[in-house]
């Protein structure tokens, strides 16, 4: 018998012997890396308050999270994009709960003299109509476009809210995380990008959006008051109605303690 199956057998037997351990109840949370820091912090506090519970938190992407929940590999999924008809077709029992809001900030390199742009200008930059900073009030130099990958919920939202569904210039650099966009913009003088609020702090300069001669900068307060026009919801997902443990965790995140954590990580509480 091949060595591999012998090993497999041994391992399975062994794990049957060892496993179980503390006898705690387990809650598996998995999905979007955007929500990851919040979920992890919530998990720590939740476990502190509930010693009989083990919460494990995992990244991998919104889609991986939804699939994991649908297949029963995870209890609660995290998603930074809307749950789509395709997802519902595969797993009809999905239930979606909004737990936070995220503002999308447009960022440029600190050395860039531009400090505000209109939505039309941002659109023009991203669809290639403007290629030089001089054309939008800056001091000249080639514009380097930085965006997210095509499956990103952040980009999807940006496409709808800012691009009005239009196309992007082909030479746009694509990154697959907020951190990646931030890193590139912070080290490239001519770059422009968009990130969640939590990443608009150090190393980059957040650009204000000007409309009707007022400039609104992306802050938590501006998002809460709906003055800042570019923001979206973040979700937790379960398969079917959430049971006791899942419901407790979601409830925790929606409660005052949870929403405070949401704020600490740079997101916007629901209220």
């Amino acid at each position: 018998m091949p060595v591999s199956s012998a090993f497999l057998l041994a391992a399975l037997l062994l794990s049957g012997c060892i496993g179980g351990g503390s006898g705690n109840r387990v809650l598996r949370v998995s999905g979007s890396t955007t929500l990851l820091p919040v979920a992890e912090k919530a998990a720590q506090e939740f476990m502190a308050g509930n010693p009989g519970v083990d919460v494990s938190v995992n990244g991998g992407g919104s889609s991986a999270g939804i699939k994991a929940v649908g297949e029963g590999m995870a209890d609660v999924g995290m998603s930074s994009r809307d749950v789509k008809p395709d997802d519902f077709a595969q797993y009809p029992g999905l239930k979606v709960f909004a737990v936070a809001r995220d503002g999308i900030a447009v960022i440029v390199n600190p050395s860039n003299s531009v400090s505000s742009l209109t939505l039309e200008q941002v659109r023009g930059i991203y669809n290639g109509s403007y290629a030089d900073w001089g054309e939008v009030g800056g001091s000249g130099g080639q514009i380097v476009l930085v965006g997210r990958d095509s499956t990103s919920g952040t980009r999807e939202f940006f496409t709808g809210a800012v691009m009005r569904g239009g196309g992007y210039a082909p030479a746009m650099l694509e990154k697959n995380s907020n951190g990646g966009v931030q890193q590139t913009v912070s080290q490239t003088p001519g770059a422009i990008g968009y990130v969640g609020l939590g990443f608009a702090g150090s190393g980059v300069k957040a650009v204000g959006i000007s409309a009707n001669r007022t400039v609104v900068y992306p802050t938590v307060a501006a998002v809460l008051s709906r003055e800042y026009p570019v923001s979206r919801d973040l979700y937790l997902v379960t398969n079917g109605e959430p049971d006791g443990l899942e419901s407790a965790f979601i409830g925790f995140l929606l409660g005052p303690q949870g929403q405070e954590l949401v704020g600490e990580e740079g997101f916007v509480p629901l209220r």
Partner: protein
């Protein structure tokens, strides 16, 4: 009669052993078949719907446009260009360094130098990615005054460095195995040391060097994480084609950035799997080409083959360097005639120089070049190590090493990730080593050529080219979901084992083949059975080569994020795993998430990277000591 009973038992044992070894060899082919089937199943809609030609030759990749466009041409071009660029500098640099370490380095330094090279293999791909993003692309931007350094050039340089350890280490093993008597024969005829190396040693080691290059190329083609971070990922074909500063997007980069978020079951999802199938085909073509070159060069050397076709084939493989040079000139000519002309002149001068010079001068220049190659590689190593150390050292405290993470990883420690990584690597090697060595023994000692063996070999070579993220997806769909193992240590170990299997098989096979036949004959003539001969006389001298494969495999298993992302790893959990069926934390995954998704965690990310590096170095040092012990006994 006593002898007859023993004879019967021997025959039974021999039969069982041969079957078991055959099963090990077949395992790789079976695994590859499974993976291909899985890829096909998931990608079927894209081939049935928009159609094969539109997919492969389509010039625009815009999955979220209206209508969605799934043209793979820019991605294929990106993969080809980045890999080509990487090989252009990694192959000469790698083989030259291997020659240096094996033949020209001072006595006694060899194990240390070899280890230094292998340390490069121990740097996790996410660290390469970070280094590439933060240091390399910025350097390119500033040095060449381009708007951004995220480009084809950055991708090639990074991938080249990542494949160097494989190319160097496996080539070095091959070069060291060339029989002393061949070298002595050459020297005794009055050849210089360099002539001996060029005319006798390198051709003798051809098989091993080809293996090294193929493995290295597989590493480059399949790398996801690092290339995703530095090439810019713009799905364009550089124009002109030689613009190395243009951003590009590779197939693996596409898989890396889009797979995590794509809606399962959608056309986009199928298109991504279609890309994976395409990549498979590319790897198949590359491997076949390497095999072709190897076989026909040998035939050419013995003057076999009379017909036009076989003469053309021998010419092709016998004049590779010349043809490669012409290709470079042609490529340059496409963008600038002046460049092509000056390259032509430079090559001609170089040729004249090398052939007209006195032998002693040629030797000095050649040795100088070898030494310079080694220095370059050592410099690359030093730069990366310095980068990791200087950024990571501030984060190292006793609490960091012994505690659990807090504040989303910005505070606290990484102990569970360290333990998780150790478990994963140990398990992966425990599975892959017996399977790999078994397969290698079968291929080298028992197989008789023929259909099945070619299929097995093709399987192994193709397994080598599978991108790390495809391993992760396959592991997720098959091990986690289908076999119901769940996200678990076991699923991660199996996935990682699959990933390192080809390396171990290839290096073990080369090591076994380099044992002289006279030992086998001597053993058989004393009445030993085939298996006894293999176990007692063939395997012990092969151990150093096998351990090289183990070292390279360990480095990869410890440092890869994509294979464990969906199969074994979690970002945080309360306690250490208590069974094989629980998930684990793992260092590369932890580093990746801290660096990309947790703002303000950069310091700890580098700290974890430093710890991972030291951990891998520890594993290497231990294995290298064992290897040096075995090498000492080889003095034929």
């Amino acid at each position: 009669m006593e002898g007859a009973r023993r004879g019967k038992r021997n025959r039974l044992l021999e039969f069982l052993v041969e079957r078991a070894l055959f099963a090990s060899a077949l395992f790789s082919a079976v695994a590859v078949a499974f993976i291909i089937l899985f890829l096909f199943r998931e990608s079927l809609p894209i081939f049935l719907g928009p159609g094969l030609l539109d997919f492969v030759l389509g010039a625009a990749w815009n999955p979220v446009g209206s209508p969605p466009l799934f043209g793979a041409l820019p991605l294929v071009a990106g993969t080809a260009l980045v890999t080509l660029g990487a090989m252009v500098f990694a192959i000469p640099l790698g083989v030259a360094t291997a020659v240096f370490v094996s033949e020209l380095s001072p006595k006694g330094w060899k194990p240390l130098l070899k280890l230094c090279v292998e340390i490069l293999a121990g740097v996790p791909s996410v660290v390469y990615g970070l280094f590439g993003l933060v240091v390399l692309t910025d350097w390119i931007r500033v040095s060449f005054a381009v708007p951004t350094g995220e480009s084809w050039l950055a991708g090639s340089v990074l991938l080249g460095v990542m494949s160097l350890p494989t190319i160097i280490s496996v080539s070095e093993d091959a070069i060291s195995s060339v029989l002393r008597e061949h070298k002595e024969a050459s020297l005794s005829l009055g050849a210089t040391k360099w002539q001996t190396i060029w005319r006798v040693v390198l051709p003798s080691a051809r098989s091993g060097i080809t293996a090294a290059v193929v493995l290295g190329m597989g590493r480059a083609i399949g790398e996801t994480m690092a290339v995703m971070m530095v090439t810019g990922n713009a799905a364009v074909i550089p124009s002109p084609i030689t613009n190395v500063f243009s951003p590009v997007r590779t197939i693996t980069g596409t898989l890396g950035i889009e797979m995590g978020e794509v809606a399962f079951g959608s056309m986009h999802y199928s298109a991504l799997f279609g890309l994976a199938v395409l990549l498979f085909v590319i790897v198949l073509v590359v491997n076949s080409a390497a095999l072709f070159l190897l076989r026909h060069r040998q035939a050419g050397a013995f003057g076999a083959g009379r017909g036009m076709v076989s003469r053309a084939k021998s010419f092709l493989s016998g004049n590779m360097v010349l043809l490669a040079g012409l290709a470079v000139v042609a490529l340059a000519g496409m963008s600038s005639r002046a460049l092509a002309a000056s390259l032509l002149v430079a090559f001609a001068l170089l040729y004249l120089l090398l052939t007209r010079l006195r032998r002693q001068w040629t030797e000095k220049i050649a040795f100088g070049a070898m030494g310079a190659s080694f220095l370059l590689v050592a410099c690359a190593l030093a730069v990366i190590i310095y980068y990791v150390f200087s950024n990571g050292l501030p984060a190292i405290t006793p609490e960091f090493l012994s505690g659990f993470p807090g504040n989303s990883g910005r505070a606290g420690g990484i102990l569970p990730a360290i333990i998780g990584t150790v478990y994963l690597v140990a398990g992966a090697i425990a599975i892959a080593l017996p399977l790999g060595v078994g397969a290698a023994v079968y291929l080298a000692e028992y197989s008789r050529g023929g259909r099945i063996v070619s299929v097995v070999r093709a399987g192994i070579d193709n397994l080598n080219g599978v991108p790390s993220i495809v391993f992760g997806l396959f592991g997720f769909a098959f091990l986690v979901i289908f076999l119901k193992l769940g996200v678990s240590l076991l699923a991660g170990q199996l996935t990682l084992a699959l990933m390192v299997l080809p390396t171990i098989i290839r290096t073990s096979e080369e090591a076994i083949k380099s044992v002289p036949n006279s030992f086998r004959e001597g053993s058989l003539a004393l009445g030993a059975t085939k298996w006894q001969t293999v176990w007692r006389v063939v395997l012990p001298p092969s151990v150093p080569g096998i351990l090289t494969g183990v070292i390279l495999g360990m480095g990869r298993a410890a440092g890869e994020t994509a294979p464990i992302m969906f199969t074994a790893a979690v970002f945080s959990q309360r306690a250490l795993p208590s069974s094989e069926l629980e998930p684990v934390m793992a260092l590369p995954y932890h580093i990746y998430l801290l660096a990309t998704s947790v703002p303000g965690a950069a310091g700890n990310a580098y700290g974890a990277a430093l710890v991972l590096l030291v951990l891998v170095l520890g594993m290497y040092g231990f294995t290298a000591l064992i290897r040096a012990g075995f090498s000492g006994r080889r003095n034929w």
